[in-house]
Amino acid sequence: MTVVNATSIDEVVDALRRLPQARLLQGGTDVMVEINLNRAGAGDVIALRQVSELRRWYVDEESRTLHLGAGVPYAELERSPLCNLLPALAEAARTVGSPQIRAAGSLGGNLGTCSPAGDGLPVLSAYDAMVHLRNADGSRQMSIHDFMVGVKRNASAADELITGISMQLTRGFQGYAKVGTRNAMVISVASACLVHDSERGSIRVAFGAVAPTIVRARNAEAWLAENVELVGAIDVSGRLAREFGERAATECTPIDDHRSTAAYRRHAVSVLAERLLLRAATPNTTGNRAS
C-alpha cells in the first residue's frame, strides 16, 4: 500500500494515471470507516487534504455562478459567507453527522460515495449543479443528474478526480428538511430540498433516501408551474401545498430497510415537500432567502 500526499490537482491526476486503482481520500469520513473495519484491504491511497485548490470557491458575478471546490468541508458551507449564498446547502450541511464529521467531510466525498441518503446531493439536484471532473488527459463537466447513476454508483471514471461543483445562484426561498430518528449523528430516513427561483419563475424539489439515487419530482414541479405564478412572491393555499406534496411523493420509489419503511418514507417526503412549499410562500421566512 502506498499513500500519496498530493499538493496540487496536477499531482493528483498524475498519480491517478500511475495508480488507477488508488482511492482518493478527502475528509476520510467514509473511506476511513471502511479501512478501520477491514485493515488489509486499503490499497493505494491518494490523499487530497493538502490540495488547497480543492478548498477554494468563488462566484462568477456575470453569470451568477458559484464554483465550489470538491474539498470544501461542511463546516465552511454552514458558516458565513457561503450560508448566505446557498442557505439550503448550509441547512443540509448542518444535518451531517456531528461537528467533528463536518470539519472533515466534503461534498466531493458525498458525491464520490453517492449514497441515496447523502445530505448534500438533493441540494445539488435541486440546483441542477454541474460536476467538474479532471484526469491526466483533460477536464469535462457533467450534469448532477447524469453523474448519480445508482446506489453508491456514479458516472466518473476510475482515473478521474472531482474538482468541484458549479451552480447558478437564485433569488427566492430555498430550504432543506430531513427526517431521522434524532437530531445529531443520523443518516437520513427521508429528506427534501426545495429551491424557488423567483426571477426565472420555477420551483425545483429533490428528495433523498427514497430511491436508488436522488429523485427530482419533475411532474409535480410542472403541475405547480401550471397552477401558480412562480415569478416573484408566490401565493399558495394549504390545499394546493398538500396536493403538491402528494404528487411529488408518487415520483419516489422508496424501500423498506433497517432504518424505515417505504410507506413511512413516502408519507414523510409528501409532508416535507408540502411544508417547504408553504415556507416558500410565507413572506419573510427568516434566513432562507438566498442573497
Binding site: 502506498t2 475528509g27 487534504r49
Partner: protein, 167 residues
C-alpha cells in the same frame, strides 16, 4: 520529507502537541488514533467505535476538532495536532478539566478526554456559547454514564469562569 512523495512502509513525521514525532515501521493505513496510542505513547485519546460515532478520539487538527479514528495518520504530516495531553501548558489541569471535576461531569471517565478536547475547541472559537451552541458542539461526543446534565453544567462553568477572567 516532501509532502508529495509516495510513502511506503518506512517512516513519516507528525507534529503532536508542538513536537515532531517520527513514526517508524507503521502500516501506512493506520488511523491517527492508533498511531497516537500505540506508537507515540499518547493513550489519553480514547478509541471505542472507530467509525466516527462516539467522539472519544477527538483531537484538534489545524484548529478544528476531528475524530482521530477517521484521520489516516500518514496523510497528517503537515498538520498541527493537539491531543488531550497537550492542552495544559504547565502540567496543571486546564480550566475545562477543573470544571468537569467540580461539576461532577466525570464518572467512568472514558468519554472525558474527547469531551475536554471538544469543549476547548468550542471555547477557542466562541467564548460565550449559548445553551444550544453548547449542545451542538458536543453532539458528536457520547457519554454512557452521566446523562449529560453535569457535562453541560461543566461547560457553562468553564465558559463563565473564562468570561469573568477576561473582564
Amino acid at each position: 520529507m516532501t509532502s508529495s512523495q509516495d510513502q511506503g512502509n518506512e517512516f513519516y513525521a507528525l507534529t503532536v502537541n508542538g513536537m515532531r514525532h517520527q513514526v517508524q515501521d507503521a502500516w501506512v493505513g493506520e488511523s491517527l488514533l492508533y498511531v497516537l496510542r500505540e506508537r507515540l505513547g499518547l493513550p489519553g485519546t480514547k478509541g471505542a467505535c472507530e467509525q466516527g460515532e462516539c467522539g472519544s478520539c477527538t483531537v484538534v487538527m489545524d484548529g478544528e476538532a476531528v475524530c482521530a479514528c477517521l484521520v489516516m495518520a500518514a496523510t497528517a504530516v503537515d498538520a498541527d495536532i493537539v491531543t488531550v495531553e497537550g492542552l495544559s501548558t504547565d502540567g496543571e489541569p486546564t480550566d475545562v478539566q477543573r470544571s468537569f471535576v467540580d461539576a461532577g461531569g466525570v464518572q467512568c471517565g472514558f468519554c472525558t478526554p474527547g469531551l475536554i478536547v471538544a469543549v476547548h475547541a468550542l471555547l477557542e472559537r466562541n467564548s460565550s456559547p449559548s445553551e444550544l451552541e453548547i449542545r451542538e458542539a458536543i453532539s458528536g461526543n457520547i457519554c454512557r454514564c452521566t446523562g449529560y446534565g453535569r457535562i453541560f453544567e461543566a461547560v457553562r462553568q468553564a465558559r463563565d469562569t473564562r468570561q469573568q477572567g477576561a473582564q
